[in-house]
């Protein structure tokens, strides 16, 4: 089998295309082998996947909640509402008359009168406190006029609200825009918080995958030594561990996706009831295809980067002796 070689350097030279195709097929082989090695110890692998899954699910879920809250407030944005709570004893006729009068005004887009009786019926239907209300002798709810203002400017809105508050029939005026502004401020604060939490948890995932990879490297120390001894390049030695990281990351991302989806299903019904009580046919936004891909891509990236960090640190230490 051994033909004499005039120069040893040519001994292992193969055609370029043959090399690339075999390098590709080696990638496939390594990818399959590293996945098989994970599945060979299902207990340990599932534990790692769960840890990564929970760490990824938490920020993903919180982010999703922020998206949803943002969406709820979106419905009100640009349509500032003013609620006029009428004085006790204001009759339905008076209320209707005032509503009609307000509808004529230029700075009022629309005005709707909700009489105490209507309010009571609605409250009983949606709040779930119907029984409590039945024990009361008289209706505690005031009449309300819901105004949609034509003003967009906060100062003008405040002036308008102040003017409305001076009317004899009006008890209190509530400007919906104020809490909306506070909500927006809170949302942007919460977004920062979620981003910071996501960063910390991503770091945690990196450490988990890095440490798991370090153990895998330690377990295969003698194999690495032998591969280096017979001329394996660093990238050849690195390859199985990077695939290991990839599978850890991908598996963890799939777990986190399932966790988030399960939480959404768990929350969907109460949220719908809550939304209905606000006259809103709002329903929870789930993980769309884009966010799903983001989670999977994020998991894979963290997996590979974590493995790279571990490999970079520990592979250099292993040299054949």
């Amino acid at each position: 089998m051994n033909r004499a070689k005039s120069s040893g350097a040519t001994a292992s030279v193969t055609g370029f295309s043959a090399r690339t195709s075999s390098a590709l097929s080696h990638h496939m082989v390594v990818a399959r082998e590293s996945l098989a090695s994970l599945l060979a110890t299902p207990g340990a692998s599932v534990m790692t996947w769960l840890v990564i899954g929970i760490a990824l699910a938490l920020p993903a879920f919180l982010y999703l909640m922020l998206v949803n809250v943002g969406e709820v407030s979106q419905g009100w944005e640009g349509k500032p509402r003013i609620s006029l709570y009428l004085r006790e004893g204001t009759s339905v006729i008076e209320g209707n008359r005032l509503t009609l009068e307000l509808q004529q005004k230029e700075d009022v887009m629309s005005a709707i009168f909700i009489s105490p009786d209507q309010a009571l019926v609605e409250f009983q239907r949606l709040s779930g406190f119907g029984d409590v209300l039945n024990t009361l002798d008289n209706n505690p709810l005031p009449g309300v006029i819901e105004i949609e203002s034509a003003n967009r400017d906060l100062v003008a809105l405040r002036l308008q609200a102040k003017g409305l508050a001076e009317r004899a029939e009006v008890d209190t005026v509530e400007l919906d825009l104020e809490w909306l502004e506070r909500l927006m401020a809170m949302l942007s604060f919460a977004q920062r918080l979620v981003a910071a939490l996501g960063f910390v948890l991503a770091l945690g995932v990196l450490l988990v995958i890095g440490n798991t990879t370090r153990l895998a490297i330690e377990n295969r120390r003698s194999e690495i030594e032998i591969i280096k001894l017979v001329g394996g390049t660093d990238s050849f030695v690195r390859r199985p561990f990077l695939y290991l990281g990839l599978w850890y990351g991908l598996g963890g991302a799939i777990f986190s996706w399932v966790l988030v989806q399960a939480s959404l299903i768990f929350l969907a019904d109460p949220v719908e009831v809550l939304a209905q009580s606000y006259h809103n046919d709002f329903s929870l936004t789930g993980l769309g295809p884009v966010m799903s891909l983001q989670i999977l891509g994020g998991g894979v990236t963290l997996g590979i980067v974590g493995a790279l960090l571990a490999v970079g640190r520990h592979l250099k230490e292993i040299e054949p002796r």
Binding site: G8, T14, S222, I226, V230, G231, D234, F236
Partner: protein, 219 residues
Amino acid sequence: MIRFDSVSKRYPGGKEALSRVSFELKAGEMTFLTGHSGAGKSTLMKMIILMERPSQGQVFINGTNLNRVKPAQIPAIRRNVGVVFQNHQLLFDRTVFDNVALPLIIAGFKAREVGRRVRAALSKVGLSGTEKQYPITLSGGEQQRVGIARAVVNKPAVLLADEPTGNLDPELSREIMSLFLEFNQVGVTTMIATHDLALVEKMNKRELVLEHGSLKAAE
């Protein structure tokens, strides 16, 4: 093919493993490296595959000065040198086939070519039919021959063996040596470190004798 030019190796702590060793092996030459344990045989061989670097002097392989070889170039040098170890250095969780195939897979050979060459190498060392077995099921002599098959499967220009017969009885040792002789006859530059002086004498080849890190003048 292999040239040592006044090579010294001092380990931290002052122990000198090699001192001013110079010799040259021509392409296709076969030589024995003898000497007591600790005389520096392993250190010398490790320098050829860059497991050790000289403290002083230069080592050339095929005209390449190993002092100038960067870490990234080490794999290419090692692929051209087959190495057989006393302790085999086999992967015990892989089959015989996978063990022998390793250098070919590293070098990027196609699966068909890998299979062909592995079977040829195994038949050469007399282990046909053991491909699917695990090394642990083989005897010491057979494990050593798996190691030899792995060392030559990539058709290297240089074959190094560090105490390849260390744990084998005289009969098996002779078989292994004649195997090395066969590889040498087809042009592989071969260097065998051993302390089996009786065997060396019978082979009637060039001999390098190391004594306390120095090469003895008479060869």
